[in-house]
């Protein structure tokens, strides 16, 4: 079973890392979310795996899972949530300030293929033009 969990941690981490290294904010947020899942499971697993022994004191129980990593993971989950929330809002702020959702503020990076323009992107462009015009005024 440990191998399975280790594999899960590994895959979550690898996927998370890959997405975190993407150029657009939203995938990065997803990547960090996966990474957080990965590290939470890791941290949890550091108390070793136990089946059927929750750390709730019970006179009948013979042993318990390690409660400490669980408490740590709980804290870590909350913190990761706070951070993710902040980041996603920051991503919106960045889109507003930079005009795009590239992490470096580029409209189109060198190695990206421009998206086909659709109704929304066209409307967005129009909107940006309007704002520019207004700023000039």
């Amino acid at each position: 079973m440990e191998w399975l969990v280790a594999l899960v941690i590994g895959v979550l981490t690898a996927s998370g890392v890959y997405l975190t290294m993407r150029a657009r904010t939203f995938p990065v947020v997803l990547g960090l979310t996966l990474l957080a899942y990965g590290v939470n499971v890791f941290l949890f697993a550091m108390g070793r795996l136990t089946i059927g022994h929750p750390a709730v004191i019970d006179p009948a129980a013979v042993n318990y899972s390690d409660p400490l990593p669980q408490a740590l993971v709980l804290t870590a989950i909350v913190i990761a949530f706070g951070m993710t929330a902040f980041l996603i809002v920051l991503a919106l702020k960045a889109r507003s300030e930079l005009g795009n959702d590239h992490v470096d503020g580029l409209d189109l990076a060198e190695d990206e293929v421009p998206l086909k323009k659709n109704a929304v992107t066209r409307a967005h462009e129009k909107y940006l033009k309007l704002i520019k015009k207004k700023r000039k005024e």
């Binding site: 089946i51 929750p54 709730v56």
Partner: protein, 89 residues
Amino acid sequence: MLELVLPIAFTLLAVSILLCFLRLLKGPDLPDRLLALDTLYINAIALVVLFGIHLESSLFFEAALLIAVMGFVGTLALSKYLLRGDIME
């Protein structure tokens, strides 16, 4: 008897979640994937309750309850997203 049936039940559920996952992969449209996710949530309830029976422990009941209470919120939000884009207005 129960001891005999439980492994079978678990196996059925295992197949069930794999089928949901296959639908999740195939799509083809977003509502399909959404439905797969929703079904996974419900499968999870079954799994958790069954697991509780298996372990003779009621400590997992709240997990099942919460999945029932909150699991649908994700589906709700995603559907609303498709409908309105803006889920909170």
